[in-house]
């Protein structure tokens, strides 16, 4: 298929019938027949409750399911909201389906934002069909700030178990906050919302084929909103459950995708952040964050061993990436036993910045470079688990804040090294 026609003729035919809309909800799916029906119910319930007058459409972009996901999507019966005579929304609630065989996430997201652009949607939410506990409130909380309050980008906030989302807590959030200056906690979530303006901007970007964002294009969307000075906010959605039969991606994959996308954005948007310091909060609807207190079982021994073996194996690579003092400190950590290993915030901040600079300079294959961070990340979360085994949620939150501040404090160090032998892109 030619690059300029990634939207299928069948999808276009459906869009002609739908016409201009006020609200669009994109629903990526892949073998989600079990959960997509509930998702449709939740979305349409939200339409009926919060947007009964608006022109609405749900766009299911299916990644080649073989479990009749799209059929379930089209045939899901909307839940009645108790109105007399069974009348619900004033308008026709459209459902549109398009399918690709094994598309990247970037293709799926691009299809949704391009559809929002074509239909001139004022607000577009994207939610995962796999989420088992999607509710009407989620949809309302994502769309309302854009539709009613003129925001351009809504990042979700979740209630999390205190050791859940550690990649975001120890890396993605602190680093993106320090560099881009906006305190947005969830940059890579499967839920987000954007305005028609931002959708148009994203649809017209020439980045959709860039390898680093193929798996997590939402990071790019979020940072486009930040760096183009769109109005950003966060909206609390509540707890997010993982689909019963879907396991979390392994650490290597998670780091490659999330950190790879973040580093790519940092590199490509340096003209935005290079002269900025500090960070500012973004408006937040609902609680700023919520940590729950459940106990979890973690195999710390295994994490420790993987840290040590990884650092040992990747020693030449780490030496090439990290600044000498950073590398020396990492070497020192590798020699410590389990009880004494502590990857503190200062070293972690320095390490991340060294990796970002190395990525910027393409000292080695960028994908390999990002993967080299994995053992160090293991060292960091090992320290985190040990430090916070008995911590309260507020202690954990305070430590996270300290990490953020440390990264903000060390940002001049990043800028100094970034500018050496490089020109900041205009």
């Amino acid at each position: 298929m030619a690059e300029d026609s990634f939207l299928t003729d069948d999808l276009l035919r459906q869009l002609i019938s739908v016409g201009e809309v006020d609200l669009l909800v994109g629903l990526p799916s892949h073998n989600n027949a079990e959960t997509i029906g509930r998702a449709v119910e939740a979305i349409e319930e939200s339409f009926q409750r919060a947007f009964p007058r608006q022109r609405v459409v749900i766009v299911n972009v299916d990644a080649g399911s073989n479990d009749r996901t799209s059929e379930v999507f089209l045939n899901a019966v909307p839940r009645k909201n108790g109105n007399s005579r069974g009348l619900t929304s004033l308008r026709t609630e459209h459902r549109v389906v398009t399918r690709y065989e094994n598309p990247s996430s970037a293709t799926v997201f691009r299809t949704i934002v391009a559809t929002a652009d074509l239909l001139r949607a004022r607000a577009c939410a994207i939610v995962s069909a796999a989420t088992p506990n999607l509710t009407a409130d989620w949809i309302g909380n994502l769309l309302q700030p854009i539709y009613r309050q003129d925001y351009d980008f809504v990042a979700p906030l979740y209630a999390r178990q205190r050791f859940d989302g550690l990649l975001a807590r120890t890396l993605l959030y602190p680093m993106s906050r320090a560099i881009f200056g906006k305190r947005i906690r969830e940059l890579h979530s499967t839920e987000l919302a954007l305005s028609g303006r931002l959708a148009t901007n994203c649809a017209n970007q020439n980045v959709w084929h860039d390898a680093p964002i193929q798996d997590l294009p939402q990071t790019c969307i979020a940072l486009t909103a930040v760096t183009s000075d769109y109005r950003c906010c966060q909206s609390f959605l509540g707890p997010k459950l993982r689909p019963a039969h879907v396991s979390a991606p392994d650490i290597v994959t998670a780091v490659r995708q999330a950190v790879g996308a973040l580093f790519w954005c940092i590199d490509s948007q340096d003209s935005y952040w290079i002269d900025r310091s500090g960070s500012e909060p973004v408006p937040t609807f609902g609680p700023d964050h919520e940590l729950t207190d459940e106990q979890v079982t973690v195999n710390l021994q295994r994490i420790f061993e993987l840290f040590r073996s990884g650092v040992a194996e990747l020693s030449p690579i780490l030496k090439a990436i990290a600044a000498p003092d950073t590398y020396a400190e990492i070497q020192r950590l590798e020699t410590l036993d389990e009880r004494n290993l502590c990857f503190d915030n200062a070293l972690w901040a320095k390490t991340l910045y060294d990796f970002a600079v190395a990525y910027h300079r393409t000292l080695l294959n960028r994908d390999h470079l990002v993967q080299a961070l994995v053992p160090l990340y293991r060292g960091k979360i090992y320290s985190f688990f040990r430090q916070h085994a008995a911590s309260s949620p507020s202690d954990i939150e305070a430590d996270s804040e300290n990490l953020c501040l440390e990264l903000e404090r060390q940002k001049p160090h990043l800028i100094e090294h970034w500018k050496v032998n490089s020109e900041v892109k205009p």
Binding site: S17, G19, L90
Partner: protein, 546 residues
Amino acid sequence: MSEVVQSLWYKDAVIYQSHVRAFYDSNNDGIGDFPGLMQKLDYVQDLGVDALWLMPFFPSPLRDDGYDISDYYSVHPSYGNLEDFKVFLNAAHLRGIRVIIELVLNHTSDQHAWFQQARSSRDNPKRNWYVWSDTDDHYKDARIIFLDTELSNWAWDPVSKSYYWHRFFSHQPDLNYDNPEVFEAMWGVMKFWLDIGVDGFRLDAVPYLVERDGTNCENLPETHAIIRELRKRLDAEYPGKMLLAEANQWPADVASYFGNSDEFHMAFHFPLMPRIFMAVQLEDRKPIVEILEQTPQIPDSAQWCIFLRNHDELTLEMVTDVERDYMYDEYAKDKTMRINLGIRRRLAPMMDNDRRRIQLLNVLLMSMPGTPILYYGDEIGMGDNIYLGDRNGVRTPMQWNGGWNAGFSGADPERLYSPLISNPVYGFQAINVESQKRVPHSLLNWMKRLITVRKSTKVFSRGSIEFLRPSNHRVLAYVRQYEDEKILVVNNLSSSAQAVELDLSQHKGSIPIEMSGRNLFPRIGDLPYLMTMGPYQSYWFRLRRL
């Protein structure tokens, strides 16, 4: 023509609703009258309608525009006398125009002699003709209909020192149908007018005839029994005459008033009307399709009465809260436009005087299942005056020409029963019959052609309806069928051009013939039938197998 076909005249009719007072003043006293109405029958006939529905013309204190009747056996002196009515009726019949009159069964004026006697003492023989109580505790579940003016359905009578029941204004006491004398009295009234020659009755406020504790006092079995008895007597003694129910209820509740062809011949489809307006504003067929799909089947001899506007507010009782809010926001932004649970505006102003939208609504009216009713003045796009109070703003004098008093009356303008519409957009200088008669493509002439086309077939009046469901929700398409005849109706509800693919596989091989120009369209084949439509455009196609 067979007796059966003749007796079903109401199913094929197009009805024109007017108030005697508003149509034409023959004696220059500022108030329309029966001799005036008679003078304008040629106009009514030329329009192509089959029947006139006249609002109450009985003696009345006119505190509710005549729905507060003080004498059922006469004509209000402002409109003439009984002889004038008989002459008018004869003239209408000579032109093939039937006449339907109002009959308010549920209540009288408090000035009616029956009520005056009833309140005079608790022992008066007429006392039990009304609903009295020493307390206002009964029938608590009955809603108050005129929310803007009434706080209770009970009113204190200082004369007889007790409460009387009223579902509408407090000066309109409800008759007591538990008393057989009341029923016989009202049947006597009906016989009186039937003997004179009227062709049918629009029975006002039907659901409220009987009260029972523990119910909402609407649609009770006892009420249906009363209607059945009236119908039985009507069929036996006056075959071919018609009863039309005013029951502002959901279709399933109204449908019960058709009974087994033994109650009303016709009933208004109230919930459809606001949804037609809603669909056009939303540019979405959903409200119309949804309500018609909820409309139950009715007996073959029965018929829905459908309308766009009438003498009352555009009632929003039979809509959800969300729908009502939407209607208010879109069609009655100025709160003066609102009254009770409705909107007191005429068709043209509600459509922002957009000729295309006015035509679209009339096309929908003329092509949907039921007998259409046109409200006087809407055929020329008359405006309203929302500042006249109550619903008087949609009851202003008919605008016949651009001259003195719009050609309605030779009286001094100050003497007219109501000010004329005089603003630059809708005023009589701009909107009047005479000027529109002279312009071939005026709204008036377009309406005449529309009525002519509608009456060229019985499909619209008697046929079934099957909705097509093209993926383009802005297009409302349906096939009407009666016996072997089929008509495809396609309406673009939106303000922009639309493409639509219709699944007409059931009609493969048919040739669509557009009914107004009689032009042939491509034969229906295997592929979806592609049509492009301009803003608010409609087509009626006769589907011919040739």
